[in-house]
Symmetry: C2
Subunit: 150 residues, 2 copies
DNA sequence: GTCCATGCAAACCTTTTGCATAGTA
DNA sequence: TACTATGCAAAAGGTTTGCATGGAC
């Protein structure tokens, strides 16, 4: 999962008989250039700053493609919007989510992961993926009490 | 969160100036009588075994009411359906979900919870709720390899 | 009698899809 | 040229809501 994102994408597309297009490059570069957790609306907004004629359907299709290729991970934090984050040079991590301002903080904790594995083993499960999300108030929102939602 | 569910419901309704109806009683009793994690479709199906004229809208409204009252918890496991589980006489717990047969197993692990709190504290968050879901194959589906999806 | 709850259907919202057209290799 | 990708608009799928009617208190 290293190397130039564009080359990576080209390679993935070529391997699958897919084509490189202006829209796909734009969407992928916009996505990778942003710091993670964008939903499709926000990504589309940014893409359209460069090319207003790109359709939402293309963004949906492209992000699905990236997720299938393993270049992006889809997440659903429960607000009804699918968010994507880059999988480039990223280790697994979980999320702290501020329910007031919407801030998303990533963390990783090997001890939690190990305990999860132990629990799963105890129940006879072979775990392939997991989701750990901690919802609450970030430092700023605890202080500000009622800061506007981002 | 103890006592007769019907009485509990009556009390909650009365406190809020809401009314007790045939549909609400039927839905609540059907819900509480089932073992957890029902989605609205399944709950509606069971409710209609007793009264075929109950509408989906009423089930949605009633379950939202129960969730607001704290008698039920809403969950979204990512298949696009909201599931509800009873909050009566239940401690907090997390879920193991089989991606093959759909089985849902509950577990609780205090050490994981403690580590989550520690992580949150370290990041200055005050956590109000969390979601931990482990997805994978249950024992049966590991053996059966490809058992039909439930 | 007053006001809430229900049922129905339409509206919502995000995401997906069919289809004609445009673009890539 | 052959076949994929795009844009548009319609369709999907779960959930919510407006409104007239029915029901609880």
């Amino acid at each position: 999962m290293d190397g130039n994102p564009d080359e990576l994408l080209q390679r993935y597309l070529a391997e699958r008989g897919l084509k490189s297009t202006r829209q796909r490059s734009l969407i992928v570069n916009t996505f990778l250039g942003a710091s993670g957790h964008l939903d499709v609306d926000e990504l589309l907004r940014r893409v359209r700053e460069s090319d207003p004629r790109v359709s939402a359907a293309t963004v949906y299709r492209t992000m699905k493609l990236l997720a299938d290729c393993g270049l992006a991970h889809a997440q659903r934090f429960g607000d009804g919007h699918t968010r994507y984050e880059s999988a480039l040079n990223r280790d697994h991590h979980d999320h702290l989510i501020c329910t007031s301002c919407g801030a998303i903080v990533e963390f990783e904790n090997d001890r939690i992961e190990a305990l999860q594995d132990a629990v799963a083993r105890r129940h006879g499960f072979k775990v392939t993926r997991h989701k750990l999300e901690l919802y609450g108030l970030c430092r700023g929102c605890q202080a500000g009490k009622g800061r506007a939602h981002a």
